[in-house]
Amino acid sequence: MDILSLFVVVPILTMVGILFTKGLKGTRTVAAVGMGVQLVMAFNLLYQYFAERAKDTVSEMLFRVDYLWFESFNIHYSVGVDGIAVAMILLTSIVVFAGIFSSWKTEDLPREFFIALLLLASGVFGFFISIDLFTMFLFYELAVIPMYLLIGLWGSGNKEYSAMKLTLMLMGGSALLILGLLGLYFNSAPDGGALTFNILEIAKVSIPHDVQMFFFPFLFVGFGVLGALFPFHTWSPDGHASAPTAVSMLHAGVLMKLGGYGCFRVAMYLLPDAAQEMGWLFLILTTVSIVYGAFGAIAQKDLKYINAYSSVSHCGMVIFALLMMNKTAMDGAILQMISHGLMTALFFALIGMIYGRTHTRNIYEMGGLMRIMPFISVAYVIAGLASLGLPGLSGFVAEMTIFVGSFQHQDVFHRVCTILACSAIVVTAVYILRVVGILLFGPVRNKEFETLPDAKWYEKVSMVTLIIAIVAIGVAPLWLSDMIRESLTPIVDKLTAAAIN
């Protein structure tokens, strides 16, 4: 079993293990152990990757494994990772690990819950290691569908509606994807030869211009829906609001990243001309969603809604930076994915903990939590500061890379958009501090809250894991940023080549 496939196999084995457990205790232990192993594996992968690169292996993807699957369609099970994928895998395993611990007290149908959660996880891992578009898509759907039950069954509030809406909108996205993918497939050999789903193969050929123009929107929007691209983001507020803690964490933290990842790995990498020509359109959309999401967050009262909108803003920034199509900006985009993944996961974990204690998410009903539950509150402040881009935390690194990178763009229009996007940092500060001010500081509004307990050990595990990651990236970003940068080379080269002609 090769090092990459293990990332799919281990979650599945964990699920099987869970089948043999009884009750919450056993289940969560098994899940925690499995994901712990996953986390270790992720770090090992990182180490291996650096070792390989140290041997200056030049190939775009490492640890390649390739089995022929459907011969007649030339579908392979083909895996491999570059720096970006490694980074995403690392992110995923951290978030999942934290997620397991923050759903430590799932009383209702624990086995089913953890199995669904792990199914989602394995889908995400599979997506990141895939090179073959077919398997990539398979894992994509595999990751999306458990959301329905996870939200519908263990969610809160208007959960049935949200779950259905989320599932249908995301599936709508994947419907567009199928068209795009098949379009790619059938044009993957314009000058004869075997059609292929293999990304690296398709990247070699130059797809006819009009074909690119036709299929690019489908692919880009298809992934964009999951990446909360304005105006296809409306599943996100309701979805997050109704989802149980761990699911919000995974969804905002990891699943939404599939969108951004696909946008550049598939849409832009394989259809560079179209990307160059249509970029401006989506650039406007993303610029809107950055500012729009931030302002939207100001007016909310529900913690989860606030976060959902801030996610819209931050993920908008991801796609925004991708569309700048230069190394620095795209580097920033991926850093932003990771950083947003971590901090938003932390946010949702904390919101879950607070909700679990106060049974409300309306910030105006709470206040002065800092004195009652200092640990959680401090963590919340850290998350907030990360989100508004405080140096020393991951957010700053990502945003600055994005801004500097985007501003390097030769075109004035792009630079103007960048300045507009920059203005979001102020608005972000406003809504973050607003929440912190109302929620954590000030006098205790509700006297019943006086006696609420602070974080339990398992909650601390989940918080600390994420905080460590956030700080680590914030303090020493160079290794990560370099790893991503060098992996971006082929993509950026292709895009720049497209820009020239």
Partner: protein, 477 residues
């Protein structure tokens, strides 16, 4: 033509033998021993199914009226598997007082329809085709009306019979025109005969199309389906929606790809329109249903629409994907019907809202039903995903804008279908219910049947060689 060449007809012959054995058993057994007949039939048919997989050489009989090709053999085997599963699911229904008297009728009629389908599939000319078609259809009406004591059943029977009469009338009218135009009804003559396509041929094509569309229940020829499916006994419904439909799809594809090859520019646009309507109407009607059987009926109409996507491609790949999808569909739909029939036979509950909270009491069945529905909706990891994806691939393989648009419409339809396929899932898992269906222990036969279809649902997807095998024989048609 020697005796040995009768082996080419082994499916049909074995089936006839089985029918006779069942008949004799009926005569030989006393009234209190009738309960052995059902298992007997099951065992015999099991043997028959196994025999079907034995290697065979291809050839033609009766001066080309009957031809046996590997691809036909595959089709028949697929149908056999389906029928076998249905037989497993059927066993339980003969414990009831009402049915005890008519065990052998049931099997004989059932098998005779199957024989009809076999002849239809391996027909070499339109006469054989027509005979097969009618043998397959008329007894079905009897089966639909099998529950003599039920209004709905009788209504289903009469509706099926009358509609089928009309459709076969029109089909025949078309055939007569074809005969007038070409003077021969042999497929080979029609294929290789050199003649200019006149509007007479087009008329023939359209009438033939209408006749088949009736069997496959394509819009606007589908209206009988929902009522009949709802009224007929649940196992007959599954038989109708899977086996009968499947066989029709097979022969339809074969005929279009061989006889009407040169008419492609006529039937492709026709199919284009019909496919869109079928998917839309099927989905839109399925949205509103609460009765499980009716719900599945409309879903199967929509599924037929998706099948057309494969046929329309007009290539070997298209045909392969169609056959493959039928196989997937057999397993998925029969799994769904299996669960439904279990629920009905144990509790008499037939609506989706009855399923509320079903998971809490019968988790295994709920999971099975969920997987089946996911497979129908085309969601991984079950086979439906592969089936649908390959159908879409077949359409996209034409690689021109109108077909991309068709694909897009189909894809949007999958979203609608996903919505209603999630409805029962929602009912079983999410909806709260004070008095859910109590836990019941389902009989061993039904369990076997269900497990066969579930394994099929998983295996067919992941084991690529199955598809490759089908594809191999689709070339040269």
């Amino acid at each position: 033509m020697n005796l040995h060449s009768f082996l080419l007809m082994r499916h049909e012959l074995v089936l006839i033998a089985i029918m006779l054995i069942v008949l004799i058993a009926e005569l030989a057994t006393k009234d209190n021993r009738k309960s052995i007949i059902a298992p007997l039939a099951l065992v015999l048919f099991g043997i028959h199914t196994v025999i079907g997989f034995l290697p065979m050489e291809s050839g033609t009989l009766f001066g080309g009226m009957f031809n046996a090709t590997p691809i036909n053999n595959i089709m028949k085997n697929i149908l056999n598997i389906g029928v076998l599963i249905i037989l497993f699911q059927t066993q339980k229904t003969f414990d009831s007082e009402l049915n005890r008297g008519k065990v052998s009728e049931y099997f004989i009629v059932l098998f005779s329809t199957l024989i009809g389908m076999f002849y239809m599939i391996s027909a070499g000319d339109f006469l054989m085709f027509y005979i097969g078609l009618e043998i397959a259809t008329i007894p079905l009406a009897a089966l639909a009306a099998f529950n003599r004591h039920e209004n709905k059943s009788a209504e289903a029977g009469i509706k099926l019979l009358l509609s089928s009469t009309l459709s076969s009338g029109i089909l025949l009218y078309g055939l007569s025109m074809l005969y007038a135009a070409n003077g021969s009804l042999f497929f080979t003559d029609l294929m290789h005969g050199t003649y200019t396509i006149t509007s007479l041929h087009t008329l023939t094509l359209i009438f033939f199309f209408a006749g088949m569309a009736f069997k496959i229940s394509l819009v606007p020829f589908h209206l009988w389906a929902a009522d009949v499916y709802e009224g007929a006994p649940v196992n007959v419904t599954s038989y109708l929606s899977v086996i009968s439909k499947g066989s029709a799809v097979f022969i339809f594809t074969v005929v279009l790809y061989t006889v009407f090859k040169n008419y492609a520019e006529t039937w492709q646009p026709m199919m284009y329109i019909i496919a869109i309507f079928t998917m839309l109407v099927g989905n839109l009607f399925a949205l509103r249903q609460n009765n499980l059987k009716r719900f599945l009926a409309f879903s199967s109409i929509a599924q037929a629409g998706f099948l057309l996507l494969g046929i329309i491609a007009g290539s070997a790949v298209g045909m392969a994907t169609v056959i493959y999808y039928v196989l997937v569909y057999v397993f998925s739909n029969l799994a769904a019907f299996g669960v439904v029939s279990m629920i009905e036979s144990h509790t008499g509950k037939t609506t989706i809202s009855d399923l509320n909270g079903f998971y809490r009491t019968n988790p295994k069945l709920s999971l099975a039903l969920m997987l089946a529905l996911f497979s129908l909706a085309g969601i991984p990891p079950v086979a439906g995903f592969f089936g649908k994806f390959f159908l879409f691939t077949a359409v996209a393989s034409v690689n021109t804008t109108p077909y991309h648009i068709l694909l897009l419409i189909a894809l949007l339809n999958t979203i609608i279908s996903l919505y209603y396929y999630l409805m029962p899932v929602k009912a079983m898992f999410i909806n709260k219910n004070e008095s859910p269906i109590a836990y019941f222990k389902s009989d061993v036969f039904a369990k076997i049947g269900l497990s066969i279809s579930l394994t099929g649902m998983v295996v067919v997807g992941f084991v690529s060689s199955i598809y490759e095998e089908i594809l191999k024989f689709c070339f040269g048609l």
